[in-house]
């Protein structure tokens, strides 16, 4: 299963549901390791190394 599908399904499952761990186990190995380390930035960079600036959408008015 593609990473996007796994994470889309995870969004629909309560954390205590048995399906949760089963789904995490289907992630590609490197992404799964980063996921289990709770390293969201690493998960993102493993999915794509594209640069995004959309978290900068405001700037001080001088």
């Amino acid at each position: 299963m593609k990473t996007i599908q796994v994470l889309e399904q995870l969004a629909n499952i309560a954390h205590y549901n048995n399906q949760f761990d089963l789904l995490v186990n289907t992630l590609p190995n490197e992404i799964k390791k980063a996921f289990l380390k709770n390293d969201g930035e690493l998960v993102k960079s493993l999915i794509s190394n594209k640069e995004y600036f959309a978290d900068e959408v405001d700037v001080a008015q001088i």
């Binding site: 990473t3 999915i47 959309a54 959408v57 700037v59 001080a60």
Partner: protein, 260 residues
């Protein structure tokens, strides 16, 4: 009453912070049904999902890199959104987080679109601040809450009330007015410490907070003493939370006037 243009509209939606988990039903419907979807997203899976959900999509990311100053980029994004609207289409713009919370371009587009007689609306999304309130167990109404962009706080010497919750945004790019590929906040954090020292003791505990971006992940919460702030390396999406350091006294005379 002003006539509303019927064959075109502008709907701005927030995608929230956590992939898919925070996307509302109304945001999803507007993305799927728009004539054209423009987006500013900071995450590859959300970008893929948008491209699957609607065949006519376009990233606004390119407009960031055309300008050195971020303010110029944001102005160009506003102009581009309006340009597409003026082609008489139903436009949906997707913005990461909440579309008007510390996000300038779409808000300005909606204001102008309304003046021009278009149906234009902003649909709320979950912001980093909403996640912070939930994860740090904070009720912003308990003692009031101040929320500033970190650079703005310093440049305008905003007044802090240390009896309130204080939230400082974009802490990792403090002092930066241009696009930042690699963060170097050391100098800005030192200057921030100098400013905050006027209001808080050096051993006051502060929290660097980063919301979880994927379902199943936990937020990153780092507690440090204020004096350690310049030695920390915030994550790119970190927000600084400073808890109240004292209690404000109540004005008994005011209370009397209000309740008599």
């Amino acid at each position: 009453m002003q006539n509303i243009i019927k064959n075109a509209s502008l709907i701005i939606v927030g995608s929230g912070i956590k992939f898919m988990s925070h996307l509302t039903i109304e945001a999803k419907a507007n993305i799927e049904q728009a004539d054209k979807v423009l987006y500013l997203i900071n995450e590859p899976l959300m970008e893929s999902w948008i491209n699957e959900a609607n065949p006519n999509t376009e990233s606004l990311e390119k407009l960031y890199t055309n300008y050195t100053l971020r303010n110029d980029s944001y102005h160009a994004i506003t102009r581009y959104i309006l340009e597409k609207l003026y082609e008489q289409k139903h436009i949906c713009v997707v913005i990461y987080g909440h579309p008007t919370v510390f996000a300038k371009p779409a808000l300005e587009a909606v204001i102008e679109a309304k003046v021009e007689g278009y149906y234009a609306k902003i649909l709320p999304g979950i912001s980093a601040e909403d996640c912070l309130f939930a994860d740090l167990l904070i009720n912003p109404g308990s003692v009031g809450c101040q929320s500033f962009e970190a650079t703005d706080l310093l440049v305008h010497r905003r007044k802090i009330d240390p009896s309130c919750h204080l939230i400082l945004w974009q802490i990792s790019i403090i002092g930066e007015l241009t696009h930042v590929k690699k963060i170097h906040p050391e100098k800005g954090l030192k200057m921030l410490l100098e400013y905050l020292k006027k209001y808080y003791s050096l051993n006051h505990e502060v929290i660097l907070y980063t919301a979880a971006q994927y379902p199943g992940l936990e937020p990153v919460i780092t507690r440090v003493r204020l004096e350690q702030l310049p030695n920390t390396i915030p994550l790119r999406l970190s927000t600084l939370y400073i808890p109240p350091s004292n209690k404000s006294s109540s004005d008994k005379f005011m209370l009397h006037l209000l309740t008599q």
